[in-house]
């Protein structure tokens, strides 16, 4: 590693100076030692996998059958279906709740605030179980409703933060032009707020995508459920580890792709001249403490 690369990487921290030749040599030794330790750890995991016979042909043979491939793909399709419903509905619910929280009518504002704070403080799984067990809904509606209530409430806060982060002059100028409050919101504030908050909104959708896996716990036939079915098959010598090794890269990969898309959008929006009057949020889910 060159000094320049190291410097570039660490430029933003207050922890180190640019290393001199002796420090660099020392770091090289540490680097080799830690690489050896990490590689050793990986080798040990690989050894464990081989030692417990995870790579035998019997354990991997189920994936050759068309029926099982279709089962996995159907599970993936059901996961994506739940994600699609949940994301569209939570964006809509978020917009409605944000409008409520920003309303000039006090009762409406209080009702929206109570709703948002309650569902943000409640574990999404408790909501899903409540809808599934107590209201006796089917698995898919229960999962989608639970995800929508939670993510909609979080997105409401995101939208509200976005609207409030638009420079004050924008609102004042719009009112000075004689626009009504709905016009100010729809033509001036909301477009800029959405641009500013798009990275956060997409990051929240990553949370929704990850949480579709909760459907497994209420017997919704999604991706993990398909994996569980294959893994508990005695004919193939209980291929649990192979199933995990196939399912997790796909699931994690989908989430990473969406996270990466959020980062890309953040970089793009920051360059755009249309976000001059607003600060573009970083590509992370909202982390505001409840109650403010």
């Amino acid at each position: 590693m060159t000094a320049h690369a190291l410097h570039g990487e660490l430029e933003s921290t207050a922890l180190y100076d640019l290393p001199g030749p002796r420090t660099r040599r020392r770091h090289l030794v540490y680097g080799i030692a830690s690489t050896a330790v990490i590689l050793g750890l990986l080798a040990w995991i690989l050894y464990l996998l081989f030692d417990t016979g995870q790579f035998t042909a019997t354990k991997w043979s189920p994936f050759l059958y068309k029926g099982i491939q279709e089962l996995v793909l159907r599970g993936l399709g059901n996961t994506l279906k739940a994600f699609a419903y949940a994301s569209v509905l939570s964006v809509l619910l978020g917009a409605v709740l944000a409008a409520g929280r920003l309303s000039v009518h006090r009762p409406l504002r209080w009702a929206a605030t109570l709703f948002v704070e309650f569902f943000r403080a409640m574990p999404v799984l408790v909501m899903i179980f409540f809808i599934f067990v107590a209201l006796k809904a089917q698995p898919l509606p229960a999962l989608v409703a639970g995800l929508t209530l939670y993510n909609g409430s979080v997105l409401a806060e995101v939208f509200r933060t976005g609207i409030n982060s638009v420079e004050r002059g924008q609102r004042e100028a719009a009112y000075a032009l004689g626009m009504r409050k709905t016009q100010v919101m729809t033509f001036v504030l909301a477009p800029q707020a959405v641009r500013a908050m798009l990275p956060t909104i997409i990051s929240q959708l990553v949370v929704a995508l990850k949480d579709t896996s909760l459907g497994y716990l209420i017997t919704y036939e999604e991706f993990l459920h398909a994996g569980k079915l294959i893994a508990s098959n005695l004919d193939y010598d209980l291929p649990f580890i192979p199933v995990v090794m196939i399912i997790s890269p796909i699931y994690i990969g989908m989430c990473m792709l969406l996270s990466w898309f959020a980062t890309w959008v953040a970089r793009r929006e920051r360059r755009s001249p249309k976000t001059a009057a607003v600060e573009v949020a970083p590509a992370e889910p909202e982390t505001v403490l409840p109650g403010r």
Partner: protein, 214 residues
């Protein structure tokens, strides 16, 4: 309505299970997150890569998948531990990735000049870190750590879906006993609200005491 008073012991046990799980997993997440954050700002390339991979993989892993893999997978390697330990491991490792990012961005908010000034006064690395950089970073990470730990408390409900020694898990026993399911859930919800709102209150106090108005 009588669900709570007649089953106070059961609810209490579930509540206590959730509190324990939250506390232990929080401690693991804070320690592991600190270690990973120090890897990510270390001047050694391989440690940085390890930290980055850890964070990016765990942040994009569905927690149910992690529970599924840990609870049912680790026993295949001959590692048989009580359920509680597995739950703490899964929750702690998952949350450590978020804690790591919070700490790292906290360290990055400390201006570079602070460290340079400390070193030009002759302070060692340990002194710079302990008396200049970390105290300033600590002030700016209080709210995000609070919301990460609240997320952890809420995520502990997933453990409750796998076992009964946890607040959400109590609904199975109670519905078998024939109690009104809606009220059962109302009291479960109240239990979770108590936990999340107390963490929130704790961090509001911490922020008032140590945080800085930026």
């Amino acid at each position: 309505m009588y669900v709570l008073t007649e089953n106070f012991a059961l609810y209490g046990k579930g509540f206590w299970g959730t509190v324990q799980l939250t506390v232990y997993a929080s401690l693991l997440a804070l320690v592991l997150g600190f270690v990973m954050a120090s890897f990510r700002v270390a001047p050694i390339g391989s440690l940085r890569v390890f930290g980055t991979v850890w964070v990016n993989v765990l942040r994009n892993t569905p927690l149910t998948l992690l529970f599924f893999a840990v609870l049912l997978g680790l026993p295949r390697f001959g590692l048989v531990l009580p359920f509680q330990v597995f739950a703490v491991l899964a929750l702690g490792c998952y949350t450590s990735a978020f804690i790591c990012e919070v700490l790292r961005s906290g360290i990055n908010t400390v201006p570079k000049g602070q460290g340079e000034a400390a070193r030009s006064l002759g302070m060692s690395f340990g002194q710079t870190l302990g008396t200049v950089v970390l105290p300033q970073a600590f002030r700016s990470v209080i709210p995000p750590i609070g919301s990460t730990l609240i997320a952890l408390a809420k995520n502990s409900a997933i453990a409750g879906a796998f076992s009964v020694n946890e607040l959400l898990g109590t609904y199975k026993t109670l519905s078998e006993l024939g109690y009104n399911i809606v009220w059962t859930f109302v009291w479960i919800a109240v239990g979770y609200l108590i936990i999340t709102l107390s963490i929130s209150a704790l961090f509001h106090v911490l922020e008032k005491r140590y945080g800085v108005a930026r």
